[in-house]
């Protein structure tokens, strides 16, 4: 029986989907050790503590709330110091985070501070005594590794969407803890540049419409946007060819060196299907491709392909989707 500490990630004062997924993974691990508690760490600007009950819904027994005016932004060094200091007060079986922009940054800091082993971007966790066994897709998703982590404690970051958030309500107790100041020199956030509003993040969207060089010009991305609108709440992605040309921001890039996504539906428009692009989206549930070249490699992975000119087919498809979703 051992407790598990989990980082409950927030942005702009709201808990993120990955926070609930991480709590779910932590709950499973605590249960697997024979009934340990899940302790969530919730940090933010004053007032963030009001979110603690939401973590109880997914199985947190205790929520440590650290409020500080400095925590309005992602105060990485202080978050890491506060979590590490808290972890020293208990024999945690593991410290769990999401493999998100915040979690990727914090995990190795905490592991180094506590001299714990760390495994990243994990899709499954099993524990037996002093051994943790996890699955982690390496080689840009081309090889699945089973890693064995020895020792009584470890840091684990979980892949977004790999653990589906499951309700498992606990009457979460809240405890206020003090923010620990940074112990290393700090980076200062001078500005947050918000991306396009009104669309879900690529990592959270259940439908992604992506465009490639086959769209021919930046302004034709309007067709991609329109199709995303027709589906309702879809996100828009792109290939590196497109982000390199500045048609779309780098943050929209999907693939080996961009975002890795796994939505219910991935629609590839004018995308050849280069191996580095496939590395970022091949685990999507359903893949649709529209490409004028019937030999394009994207058709090898597309559940449904249409051979045709995107400039012609996409507007017609957008109209058909609007029609099919009438009443939504």
């Amino acid at each position: 029986m051992a407790n598990v500490l989990v980082f409950a990630e927030t942005r702009n004062g709201e808990l993120r989907k990955i926070a609930f997924e991480a709590v779910t993974a932590a709950r499973q691990l605590a249960d697997a050790t024979g009934g340990g508690e899940v302790h969530a760490f919730l940090a933010g600007a004053p007032g963030v503590g009001a979110k603690a009950a939401q973590l109880g819904i997914y199985g947190a027994d205790v929520v440590f709330v650290a409020e500080s005016a400095d925590f309005a932004q992602f105060a990485r060094e202080s978050f890491a110091a506060t979590i590490a200091d808290r972890a020293k007060l208990d024999a945690y079986r593991a410290i769990v985070l999401g493999f998100s922009a915040q979690g990727r940054d914090l995990g190795p800091r905490i592991a180094a501070k506590l001299d714990l082993p760390i495994v990243s971007d994990v899709t499954e966790i099993a524990s037996s005594g002093d051994t943790l066994t996890v699955k982690h897709p390496g080689y840009a998703n081309k090889v699945v590794l089973t890693l064995v982590v020895s020792g009584p404690s470890a840091v684990i970051s979980v892949r977004p969407s790999a653990f589906t958030a499951k309700e498992n309500a606990k009457p979460a107790r809240t405890e206020t803890i003090a923010a620990v100041p940074a112990k290393t020199p700090v980076v200062t956030v001078t500005e947050i540049k918000e991306g396009a509003k009104g669309r879900p993040d690529l990592g959270e969207a259940s439908i992604i419409i992506s465009g490639g060089r086959g769209l021919k010009a930046a302004e034709n991305f309007k067709l991609v946007e329109d199709l995303a609108d027709a589906f309702g709440n879809a996100a828009v992605g792109a290939t590196r060819a497109v982000t390199d040309d500045g048609w779309r921001p780098h943050s929209d890039q999907i693939g080996q060196t961009g975002r890795q996504v796994s939505p219910q539906l991935y629609v590839a428009l004018g995308i050849s299907g280069a191996i580095q692009h496939l590395a970022g989206m091949r685990t999507s549930k359903t893949i649709v491709a529209i490409n004028k070249d019937k030999e394009a490699p994207i058709f090898k992975v597309a559940d449904y392909g249409i051979v045709g000119d995107v400039l012609e087919v996409v507007p017609a498809l957008t109209a058909a989707i609007h029609e099919a979703r009438k009443g939504h």
């Binding site: 942005r11 082993p117 081309k142 290393t184 540049k193 780098h250 491709a289 249409i306 498809l317 058909a320």
Partner: protein, 250 residues
């Protein structure tokens, strides 16, 4: 400036992988290896920073068996001044152990900046750079997609999901490099010749306990073969029907 870059040698990402007979690693036979993609962006970023600063020294480090010397030479052929090889029988799957060995070597090196890749292709972990920064006790920016040095301080951009942070930080610092900072140059013939004479020091790595090991490596399940529904707008009704009845996303 004095800049160090830590590089890993990884197989070409376009390779088709097979699993070795041990079942616990890929089969390396016939694979091409090179400096890992993100680490090669870091090498390029270091060279450009020093070109812009009008001087300085760029040093590369790699931990692993003798074959990592190829990657160190390649970095020197791109323009890096010298190399340090931290010798180990194999590269462990334990990023903290690698970071400790690198930090032990980098400490006292007097570096203004130490650059890493955001993550390595094979481990896909993103641990070594950030953990090294902690062991060195210096500021750390992870996954920088822009990097400059202005008036003795660092300026970086870092992508968040759906947003970006603009950051400033004091030197010395560790920065892990995302795509966007710089595309690596190709070594010139002159660079390749010059690299042969540049200093490459080899010494044992101080790897402590290895606490993360690979038990099994598997290829992920193949996707079922793709299906072309038809040509042009005529295929749309069939697609919409399948999205409703089979994929159930409408």
């Amino acid at each position: 400036m004095k800049i160090a870059v830590c590089i890993k040698r990884t197989p070409d990402s376009e390779s088709r992988f097979k699993i070795a007979s041990t079942g616990a690693s890929i089969d390396e036979a016939g694979l091409k290896f090179d400096i890992d993609d993100f680490a090669s962006y870091a090498v390029e970023a270091a060279l450009q920073l020093n070109e812009k600063a009008g001087g300085g020294e760029t040093v590369v480090y790699a931990l692993g068996p003798d074959n990592v010397q190829e990657s160190l030479r390649k970095a020197m052929s791109m323009g890096v001044d010298r190399a340090v090889h931290l010798k180990a029988d194999k590269v462990p799957a334990d990023g903290i152990a690698i970071a400790k060995a690198l930090a032990a070597e980098l400490k006292g090196g007097g570096y203004d900046l130490v650059l890493f890749g955001k993550h390595a292709f094979d481990s896909s972990a993103g641990v070594v750079g950030t953990a090294t920064a902690e062991f060195l006790g210096v500021a750390c920016v992870t996954a920088a997609s822009e990097l400059r040095v202005e008036n003795g301080a660092g300026v970086a951009r870092r992508e968040l999901e759906g947003a970006a942070e603009m950051l400033t930080f004091p030197l010395p610092a560790v920065v892990t490099i995302d795509e966007g900072v710089a595309r690596p140059r190709y070594p010139s013939l002159k660079g390749i010749m010059a690299a042969k004479k540049k200093p490459l020091e080899s010494k044992p790595a101080q790897l402590g306990d290895i606490r993360v090991t690979v038990q099994k490596a598997e290829l992920p399940p193949e996707r079922p073969a793709g299906r072309i529904l038809g040509e042009g707008v005529a295929a749309i009704p069939e697609l919409v029907k399948l999205l409703q009845t089979e994929a159930k996303v409408l």
